[in-house]
Symmetry: C2
Subunit: 119 residues, 2 copies
């Protein structure tokens, strides 16, 4: 397999904040071993480091799923800017998906959670 | 039905940021009409306003699902503090669920999204 999935979280100075994202990555890796977690800022590994590693590991393309609920300035500006630099630096295809919150599966998950808790 | 579900988002000065959360609420309301959206800060209606309205509307209990991926200082400190004040002020039962990101449905949604996009 030559495609790497990067789950991209915001990052935080609070170590325990990352636990949820590590858990997502752990369960996704059980099914898709080529999945890694990276952070936009404040935590490691950084997106830049993850892309550099992917190139070294011989991946030919990267699919990034932002672990963000909504598209704020990070997804509209900061991340595309980081990706433009990385695409220029490394000869690798990078596909940025809409954030988690904009995927149909999320709205369904919200309904299922309500269903499980209020019935 | 005497229980109100409040979907509680962070809030933002960026108006368009809320669109995703409005969309969640819209789809949830199609199935659970007693669902409302509120914000911890920066956007309206505030959590406090939503709880006050619920009391006026005769709801006997409120279930809050935080539309947050991870538990940071807001969910560990700010929101419980707001809820303690509201519970004291209004005679209403309030149940705070773990955030969206800690619900099993979310990890599954991440897997389904990867599945849909990389196959």
């Amino acid at each position: 397999m030559h495609n790497l999935v990067i789950l991209l979280a915001h990052g935080s100075t609070d170590e325990s904040w990352s636990d949820t994202f590590k858990q997502f990555t752990h369960s996704a890796r059980a099914k898709y071993p080529n999945t890694k977690l990276a952070y936009m800022e404040l935590s490691t590994p950084s997106l830049s480091h993850a892309v550099e590693s992917a190139v070294k590991d011989g991946y030919q393309s990267i699919t990034i799923l932002p672990l963000f609920l909504a598209k704020g300035k990070h997804l509209r500006h900061d991340i595309p800017k980081q990706l433009a630099v990385l695409k220029k630096k490394f000869a690798i295809e990078i596909d940025l998906l809409p954030p988690l919150g904009e995927q149909a599966e999320l709205a369904l998950a919200v309904e299922l959670i309500i269903d499980r808790h209020i019935k």
